[in-house]
Amino acid sequence: MVHALKEVHRILVPQGIMIDVRPLCVDVPLEFVHAGGSESAGLMDLSPDIESDIAADKAVDCVIKESLYHESGLEYFDFVFYWKTLKGMEEHIEENWKAYMVIPEQVRQRARILYHQRRPQTRIRIGWRMKLGIYEKL
């Protein structure tokens, strides 16, 4: 990771900008959004990939300490996904996010209860917590 950040440093012009945008391994709610509001089924477990998350932060810290970059901004936001069906969400997680996300059994059971209430215009929502770091080449 440090090597990649040094490669980016090489290809940037002087005072060029590096943007690091990525999801964080913090647990996020599984929510059922409907016409009357929203309800949480509980927190999704995002711990499986936490070592990569920590390593990425360490790599950024390392190149800042080496005075290759200056951190000029840091922001957080939610990157949201919506599904119409619970099955659709479960399949998507199994196919795409298995290495990053686990549905705890209690959350899965609660989700099924909420889904079968079939409230009007129900959508299932997961919002990944994102970090966007802005770094200027020194």
Binding site: M1, E75, F81, H92, I134
Partner: protein
């Protein structure tokens, strides 16, 4: 069934607020199938998306709706960038660090 992804455009909104893309030479590392790249492809003077996954890059190339002479997709990894020194104004690490 595919999910609806970031309907509020939060990622693009934060990127545009973070840096001036208009007229710049931009590299996106980890562009995947170009979903995010296409959202801001009209802004930079030149935009290159790289990813190690060839199948994703093929999708990205196919989905270039209108010919954009300044938009390129190439196979490469962040650890070995096939570009000369000082050739980009902005580099975006898109969930690739």
């Amino acid at each position: 069934m595919k999910p609806i992804r970031d309907p509020e455009g939060a990622e693009l909104g934060h990127l545009v607020a973070a840096c001036e893309l208009d007229g710049k030479v931009v590299l996106e590392i980890g562009c995947g199938d170009g979903k995010f790249t296409r959202q801001y492809a009209g802004m930079p003077a030149r935009l290159v998306g790289i990813d190690p996954e060839l199948n994703d890059l093929r999708v990205a190339k196919k989905r270039k709706i209108r010919p954009k002479p300044h938009l390129f997709f190439s196979q490469a990894k962040g650890e070995k960038l096939p570009f000369p020194a000082g050739s980009f104004d902005i580099a975006i690490l898109a969930s690739s660090l």
